[in-house]
Symmetry: C3
Subunit: 135 residues, 3 copies
Protein backbone atom coordinates (compact mmCIF):
# COMPACT_ATOMS: atom_id res chain seq x y z
CA UNK A 1 0.00 0.00 0.00
CA UNK A 2 1.23 3.49 -0.81
CA UNK A 3 2.17 5.81 2.03
CA UNK A 4 -0.48 8.37 2.71
CA UNK A 5 -0.42 11.88 4.20
CA UNK A 6 -3.47 14.01 4.87
CA UNK A 7 -3.84 17.57 6.08
CA UNK A 8 -6.63 19.45 7.80
CA UNK A 9 -5.92 23.09 6.93
CA UNK A 10 -7.69 25.44 9.32
CA UNK A 11 -5.56 28.38 10.59
CA UNK A 12 -5.74 30.43 7.39
CA UNK A 13 -2.82 32.81 7.80
CA UNK A 14 -0.60 33.05 4.72
CA UNK A 15 2.53 31.82 6.48
CA UNK A 16 0.94 28.43 7.11
CA UNK A 17 -0.10 28.07 3.49
CA UNK A 18 3.59 27.70 2.57
CA UNK A 19 4.00 24.31 4.34
CA UNK A 20 0.66 23.18 2.88
CA UNK A 21 2.13 23.73 -0.59
CA UNK A 22 5.59 22.40 0.20
CA UNK A 23 4.48 19.24 2.03
CA UNK A 24 1.78 18.32 -0.47
CA UNK A 25 4.14 18.80 -3.41
CA UNK A 26 7.00 16.87 -1.76
CA UNK A 27 4.77 14.03 -0.55
CA UNK A 28 3.07 13.66 -3.93
CA UNK A 29 6.50 13.60 -5.64
CA UNK A 30 7.53 10.79 -3.23
CA UNK A 31 4.51 8.80 -4.40
CA UNK A 32 2.36 9.34 -1.31
CA UNK A 33 -1.39 9.50 -1.54
CA UNK A 34 -2.20 13.10 -0.48
CA UNK A 35 -5.57 14.32 0.83
CA UNK A 36 -6.06 17.93 1.90
CA UNK A 37 -9.18 19.13 3.70
CA UNK A 38 -9.62 22.91 3.91
CA UNK A 39 -11.84 24.23 6.66
CA UNK A 40 -12.03 27.18 9.10
CA UNK A 41 -10.48 30.42 7.90
CA UNK A 42 -8.20 28.65 5.40
CA UNK A 43 -11.19 27.74 3.23
CA UNK A 44 -11.51 31.41 2.18
CA UNK A 45 -8.09 31.23 0.49
CA UNK A 46 -9.57 28.85 -2.11
CA UNK A 47 -12.44 31.06 -3.30
CA UNK A 48 -12.57 32.26 -6.89
CA UNK A 49 -12.33 35.67 -5.23
CA UNK A 50 -10.01 34.69 -2.38
CA UNK A 51 -9.57 36.47 0.92
CA UNK A 52 -6.63 38.90 0.89
CA UNK A 53 -3.34 38.23 2.65
CA UNK A 54 -3.50 37.66 6.41
CA UNK A 55 -0.29 37.30 8.44
CA UNK A 56 0.05 36.45 12.12
CA UNK A 57 0.16 39.65 14.20
CA UNK A 58 3.15 38.34 16.17
CA UNK A 59 5.40 38.11 13.13
CA UNK A 60 4.12 40.91 10.87
CA UNK A 61 7.45 42.72 11.09
CA UNK A 62 9.26 39.73 9.58
CA UNK A 63 6.94 39.25 6.60
CA UNK A 64 8.71 41.56 4.10
CA UNK A 65 11.98 39.68 4.62
CA UNK A 66 10.24 36.32 4.20
CA UNK A 67 8.59 37.41 0.95
CA UNK A 68 11.83 38.86 -0.34
CA UNK A 69 13.64 35.60 0.45
CA UNK A 70 11.01 33.44 -1.23
CA UNK A 71 11.17 35.69 -4.31
CA UNK A 72 14.97 35.47 -4.38
CA UNK A 73 14.73 31.63 -4.38
CA UNK A 74 12.12 31.84 -7.13
CA UNK A 75 10.00 29.59 -4.93
CA UNK A 76 6.60 28.86 -6.47
CA UNK A 77 3.56 30.19 -4.63
CA UNK A 78 1.70 27.76 -2.34
CA UNK A 79 -1.10 27.64 -4.90
CA UNK A 80 1.32 26.60 -7.64
CA UNK A 81 2.83 23.94 -5.37
CA UNK A 82 -0.67 22.70 -4.58
CA UNK A 83 -1.45 22.51 -8.30
CA UNK A 84 1.75 20.53 -8.87
CA UNK A 85 0.69 18.15 -6.10
CA UNK A 86 -2.75 17.83 -7.70
CA UNK A 87 -1.16 17.02 -11.06
CA UNK A 88 0.54 14.10 -9.27
CA UNK A 89 -2.72 12.88 -7.73
CA UNK A 90 -3.27 14.94 -4.56
CA UNK A 91 -6.93 15.64 -3.78
CA UNK A 92 -8.18 18.92 -2.29
CA UNK A 93 -11.48 19.16 -0.45
CA UNK A 94 -13.43 21.88 1.31
CA UNK A 95 -15.36 21.09 4.51
CA UNK A 96 -19.08 21.02 3.73
CA UNK A 97 -20.15 22.15 7.20
CA UNK A 98 -17.93 25.23 7.25
CA UNK A 99 -18.82 26.07 3.63
CA UNK A 100 -22.51 25.89 4.46
CA UNK A 101 -22.04 28.00 7.61
CA UNK A 102 -20.37 30.65 5.41
CA UNK A 103 -23.08 30.41 2.74
CA UNK A 104 -20.60 29.08 0.17
CA UNK A 105 -21.25 26.49 -2.54
CA UNK A 106 -18.90 24.36 -4.64
CA UNK A 107 -19.12 26.86 -7.53
CA UNK A 108 -17.73 29.64 -5.31
CA UNK A 109 -14.38 27.82 -5.06
CA UNK A 110 -11.57 27.90 -7.63
CA UNK A 111 -11.98 24.68 -9.63
CA UNK A 112 -8.26 24.57 -10.45
CA UNK A 113 -7.65 24.12 -6.70
CA UNK A 114 -10.70 22.36 -5.24
CA UNK A 115 -11.83 18.86 -6.20
CA UNK A 116 -14.95 18.69 -4.07
CA UNK A 117 -16.88 19.87 -1.02
CA UNK A 118 -17.21 16.93 1.39
CA UNK A 119 -18.01 16.12 5.02
CA UNK A 120 -15.41 15.38 7.65
CA UNK A 121 -16.49 11.72 7.76
CA UNK A 122 -15.57 11.28 4.10
CA UNK A 123 -12.21 12.91 4.77
CA UNK A 124 -11.49 10.77 7.85
CA UNK A 125 -12.21 7.62 5.85
CA UNK A 126 -9.81 8.68 3.10
CA UNK A 127 -7.16 9.67 5.64
CA UNK A 128 -7.54 6.34 7.48
CA UNK A 129 -4.29 4.52 8.15
CA UNK A 130 -2.06 7.43 7.09
CA UNK A 131 -0.35 10.39 8.71
CA UNK A 132 -2.52 13.44 9.41
CA UNK A 133 -1.42 17.01 10.05
CA UNK A 134 -3.61 19.78 11.47
CA UNK A 135 -2.29 23.06 10.07
CA UNK B 1 -7.70 -3.44 16.06
CA UNK B 2 -9.93 -0.39 15.95
CA UNK B 3 -8.70 2.76 14.23
CA UNK B 4 -7.53 5.36 16.67
CA UNK B 5 -7.29 9.15 16.55
CA UNK B 6 -5.83 11.33 19.27
CA UNK B 7 -5.62 15.09 19.66
CA UNK B 8 -3.35 17.36 21.64
CA UNK B 9 -5.41 20.54 22.05
CA UNK B 10 -3.20 23.49 22.90
CA UNK B 11 -4.00 26.73 20.99
CA UNK B 12 -7.12 27.62 22.96
CA UNK B 13 -8.86 30.08 20.65
CA UNK B 14 -12.55 29.35 20.17
CA UNK B 15 -12.29 28.82 16.41
CA UNK B 16 -10.07 25.78 16.91
CA UNK B 17 -12.45 24.25 19.43
CA UNK B 18 -14.91 23.67 16.55
CA UNK B 19 -12.74 21.04 14.80
CA UNK B 20 -12.00 19.44 18.18
CA UNK B 21 -15.73 18.86 18.59
CA UNK B 22 -16.42 17.94 14.96
CA UNK B 23 -13.51 15.52 14.56
CA UNK B 24 -14.00 13.79 17.90
CA UNK B 25 -17.71 13.34 17.26
CA UNK B 26 -17.23 12.10 13.68
CA UNK B 27 -14.36 9.76 14.57
CA UNK B 28 -16.22 8.28 17.54
CA UNK B 29 -19.29 7.74 15.32
CA UNK B 30 -17.05 5.87 12.84
CA UNK B 31 -16.00 3.55 15.65
CA UNK B 32 -12.53 5.02 16.20
CA UNK B 33 -10.92 5.04 19.61
CA UNK B 34 -10.63 8.76 20.45
CA UNK B 35 -8.24 10.27 23.02
CA UNK B 36 -8.09 14.04 23.57
CA UNK B 37 -5.41 15.68 25.67
CA UNK B 38 -6.05 19.32 26.61
CA UNK B 39 -3.04 21.40 27.52
CA UNK B 40 -1.73 24.97 27.11
CA UNK B 41 -4.38 27.69 26.85
CA UNK B 42 -7.07 25.26 25.71
CA UNK B 43 -7.16 23.65 29.15
CA UNK B 44 -8.86 26.77 30.55
CA UNK B 45 -11.89 26.11 28.32
CA UNK B 46 -12.68 23.00 30.38
CA UNK B 47 -12.85 24.64 33.80
CA UNK B 48 -16.09 24.61 35.77
CA UNK B 49 -15.77 28.38 35.40
CA UNK B 50 -14.30 28.43 31.89
CA UNK B 51 -12.26 31.19 30.31
CA UNK B 52 -14.39 33.53 28.18
CA UNK B 53 -14.35 33.53 24.38
CA UNK B 54 -11.01 34.19 22.71
CA UNK B 55 -10.80 34.58 18.92
CA UNK B 56 -7.68 34.97 16.80
CA UNK B 57 -6.87 38.67 16.31
CA UNK B 58 -6.35 38.13 12.58
CA UNK B 59 -9.92 36.97 11.96
CA UNK B 60 -11.92 38.86 14.59
CA UNK B 61 -13.86 40.72 11.91
CA UNK B 62 -15.17 37.43 10.50
CA UNK B 63 -16.39 35.97 13.80
CA UNK B 64 -19.96 37.39 13.80
CA UNK B 65 -20.61 35.83 10.38
CA UNK B 66 -19.18 32.49 11.50
CA UNK B 67 -21.36 32.44 14.62
CA UNK B 68 -24.42 33.44 12.63
CA UNK B 69 -23.76 30.66 10.12
CA UNK B 70 -23.25 28.02 12.81
CA UNK B 71 -26.51 29.16 14.47
CA UNK B 72 -28.38 28.99 11.15
CA UNK B 73 -27.19 25.36 10.69
CA UNK B 74 -28.27 24.62 14.27
CA UNK B 75 -24.78 23.16 14.71
CA UNK B 76 -24.21 21.90 18.26
CA UNK B 77 -21.56 23.71 20.31
CA UNK B 78 -18.09 22.11 20.45
CA UNK B 79 -18.81 21.11 24.06
CA UNK B 80 -21.98 19.29 23.02
CA UNK B 81 -20.11 17.55 20.20
CA UNK B 82 -17.39 16.55 22.67
CA UNK B 83 -20.04 15.16 25.03
CA UNK B 84 -21.54 13.15 22.15
CA UNK B 85 -18.08 11.78 21.39
CA UNK B 86 -17.64 10.89 25.07
CA UNK B 87 -20.98 9.06 25.09
CA UNK B 88 -19.54 6.91 22.27
CA UNK B 89 -16.34 6.19 24.19
CA UNK B 90 -13.98 9.15 23.58
CA UNK B 91 -11.74 10.01 26.54
CA UNK B 92 -10.79 13.56 27.51
CA UNK B 93 -7.72 14.33 29.58
CA UNK B 94 -6.05 17.44 30.94
CA UNK B 95 -2.24 17.67 31.04
CA UNK B 96 -1.05 17.27 34.63
CA UNK B 97 2.05 19.45 34.18
CA UNK B 98 0.16 22.43 32.75
CA UNK B 99 -2.65 22.04 35.32
CA UNK B 100 -0.09 22.05 38.13
CA UNK B 101 1.70 25.08 36.64
CA UNK B 102 -1.66 26.91 36.64
CA UNK B 103 -2.48 25.78 40.21
CA UNK B 104 -5.46 23.71 38.99
CA UNK B 105 -6.67 20.39 40.33
CA UNK B 106 -8.98 17.74 38.90
CA UNK B 107 -11.92 19.18 40.86
CA UNK B 108 -11.54 22.54 39.10
CA UNK B 109 -12.49 20.97 35.75
CA UNK B 110 -16.01 20.28 34.49
CA UNK B 111 -16.58 16.57 35.20
CA UNK B 112 -19.06 16.28 32.30
CA UNK B 113 -16.12 17.08 29.97
CA UNK B 114 -12.94 15.82 31.66
CA UNK B 115 -12.23 12.17 32.48
CA UNK B 116 -8.90 12.63 34.20
CA UNK B 117 -5.74 14.70 34.68
CA UNK B 118 -2.79 12.70 33.36
CA UNK B 119 0.82 13.10 32.26
CA UNK B 120 1.95 13.29 28.65
CA UNK B 121 3.56 9.85 28.91
CA UNK B 122 0.18 8.26 29.72
CA UNK B 123 -1.34 10.08 26.76
CA UNK B 124 1.44 9.07 24.35
CA UNK B 125 1.00 5.43 25.34
CA UNK B 126 -2.73 5.60 24.68
CA UNK B 127 -2.20 7.39 21.39
CA UNK B 128 0.42 4.83 20.29
CA UNK B 129 -0.13 3.39 16.85
CA UNK B 130 -2.87 5.85 15.89
CA UNK B 131 -3.19 9.21 14.17
CA UNK B 132 -2.37 12.29 16.26
CA UNK B 133 -3.37 15.90 15.64
CA UNK B 134 -1.87 18.93 17.38
CA UNK B 135 -4.56 21.59 17.44
CA UNK C 1 10.23 -1.66 14.84
CA UNK C 2 10.40 1.16 17.38
CA UNK C 3 7.54 3.61 17.61
CA UNK C 4 8.29 6.88 15.93
CA UNK C 5 7.04 10.43 16.43
CA UNK C 6 7.99 13.40 14.29
CA UNK C 7 7.18 17.08 14.57
CA UNK C 8 7.09 19.92 12.08
CA UNK C 9 7.57 23.01 14.24
CA UNK C 10 6.40 26.13 12.43
CA UNK C 11 4.31 28.55 14.56
CA UNK C 12 7.22 29.99 16.55
CA UNK C 13 5.48 31.53 19.56
CA UNK C 14 7.09 30.60 22.88
CA UNK C 15 3.99 28.89 24.28
CA UNK C 16 4.15 26.22 21.57
CA UNK C 17 7.82 25.54 22.23
CA UNK C 18 6.80 24.01 25.59
CA UNK C 19 5.01 21.00 24.04
CA UNK C 20 7.89 20.60 21.56
CA UNK C 21 10.21 20.12 24.54
CA UNK C 22 7.79 18.05 26.63
CA UNK C 23 6.69 15.69 23.86
CA UNK C 24 10.17 15.12 22.45
CA UNK C 25 11.58 14.42 25.92
CA UNK C 26 8.71 12.10 26.92
CA UNK C 27 8.69 10.22 23.60
CA UNK C 28 12.47 9.75 23.61
CA UNK C 29 12.27 8.46 27.20
CA UNK C 30 9.62 5.94 26.06
CA UNK C 31 12.08 4.69 23.44
CA UNK C 32 10.43 6.31 20.43
CA UNK C 33 12.47 7.46 17.46
CA UNK C 34 12.00 11.26 17.48
CA UNK C 35 12.55 13.56 14.48
CA UNK C 36 11.92 17.30 14.76
CA UNK C 37 11.89 19.59 11.73
CA UNK C 38 12.01 23.33 12.50
CA UNK C 39 10.72 25.66 9.82
CA UNK C 40 8.74 28.92 9.50
CA UNK C 41 9.09 31.36 12.39
CA UNK C 42 10.11 28.63 14.84
CA UNK C 43 13.45 28.22 13.06
CA UNK C 44 14.59 31.59 14.45
CA UNK C 45 14.41 30.19 18.01
CA UNK C 46 17.35 27.90 17.19
CA UNK C 47 19.82 30.55 16.07
CA UNK C 48 23.04 31.11 17.99
CA UNK C 49 21.54 34.54 18.53
CA UNK C 50 17.91 33.49 18.86
CA UNK C 51 14.86 35.62 18.30
CA UNK C 52 13.49 37.11 21.55
CA UNK C 53 10.32 35.88 23.24
CA UNK C 54 7.13 36.04 21.20
CA UNK C 55 3.77 35.17 22.82
CA UNK C 56 0.38 34.92 21.13
CA UNK C 57 -1.42 38.29 21.31
CA UNK C 58 -4.63 36.58 22.47
CA UNK C 59 -3.08 35.21 25.65
CA UNK C 60 -0.44 37.81 26.54
CA UNK C 61 -2.22 38.65 29.77
CA UNK C 62 -1.84 35.07 31.00
CA UNK C 63 1.89 34.73 30.28
CA UNK C 64 3.24 36.01 33.63
CA UNK C 65 1.16 33.41 35.51
CA UNK C 66 2.31 30.64 33.16
CA UNK C 67 5.97 31.56 33.63
CA UNK C 68 5.53 31.81 37.38
CA UNK C 69 3.88 28.37 37.47
CA UNK C 70 6.60 26.76 35.35
CA UNK C 71 9.25 28.30 37.61
CA UNK C 72 7.45 27.05 40.74
CA UNK C 73 7.49 23.50 39.28
CA UNK C 74 11.18 23.94 38.45
CA UNK C 75 10.25 22.75 34.94
CA UNK C 76 13.25 22.71 32.61
CA UNK C 77 13.16 25.13 29.67
CA UNK C 78 12.02 23.73 26.31
CA UNK C 79 15.63 23.94 25.11
CA UNK C 80 16.81 21.82 28.03
CA UNK C 81 14.04 19.29 27.39
CA UNK C 82 15.05 19.21 23.71
CA UNK C 83 18.67 18.60 24.70
CA UNK C 84 17.56 15.74 26.98
CA UNK C 85 15.61 14.27 24.07
CA UNK C 86 18.68 14.62 21.84
CA UNK C 87 20.82 12.83 24.44
CA UNK C 88 18.37 9.93 24.09
CA UNK C 89 18.59 9.93 20.29
CA UNK C 90 16.13 12.58 19.04
CA UNK C 91 17.25 14.38 15.88
CA UNK C 92 16.63 18.08 15.23
CA UNK C 93 16.64 19.54 11.74
CA UNK C 94 16.10 22.95 10.19
CA UNK C 95 14.25 23.28 6.87
CA UNK C 96 16.75 24.09 4.12
CA UNK C 97 14.26 26.05 2.01
CA UNK C 98 13.19 28.38 4.82
CA UNK C 99 16.79 28.78 6.02
CA UNK C 100 17.87 29.76 2.52
CA UNK C 101 14.94 32.19 2.16
CA UNK C 102 16.09 33.84 5.40
CA UNK C 103 19.74 33.91 4.29
CA UNK C 104 20.76 31.51 7.09
CA UNK C 105 23.38 28.77 6.96
CA UNK C 106 24.02 25.74 9.17
CA UNK C 107 26.70 27.68 11.09
CA UNK C 108 24.14 30.31 12.15
CA UNK C 109 22.26 27.72 14.23
CA UNK C 110 23.12 26.58 17.76
CA UNK C 111 25.02 23.29 17.28
CA UNK C 112 23.90 22.03 20.71
CA UNK C 113 20.32 22.09 19.36
CA UNK C 114 20.49 21.51 15.60
CA UNK C 115 21.83 18.34 13.98
CA UNK C 116 21.51 19.41 10.36
CA UNK C 117 19.80 21.58 7.74
CA UNK C 118 17.80 19.32 5.41
CA UNK C 119 15.01 19.41 2.84
CA UNK C 120 11.42 18.45 3.56
CA UNK C 121 11.79 15.30 1.43
CA UNK C 122 14.53 13.99 3.72
CA UNK C 123 12.34 14.74 6.73
CA UNK C 124 9.26 13.04 5.23
CA UNK C 125 11.29 9.91 4.52
CA UNK C 126 12.52 9.78 8.12
CA UNK C 127 9.04 10.42 9.47
CA UNK C 128 7.55 7.70 7.24
CA UNK C 129 5.36 5.22 9.05
CA UNK C 130 5.23 7.18 12.30
CA UNK C 131 3.05 9.80 13.94
CA UNK C 132 3.55 13.41 12.81
CA UNK C 133 2.52 16.59 14.59
CA UNK C 134 2.41 20.06 13.02
CA UNK C 135 3.06 22.56 15.81
Amino acid sequence: MADKISMIVFTGTDDKMIPVGVISQAAAALGYEVYIFFTGWAMFKLLKQPMGEVWPKEFEGMVPKLKEGMARLKAPSWKDMLKQAKSMGAKVYVCSMMAEAAGLKKEDFDPTLVDDVVGVTTFLEQAKGGQVLFI
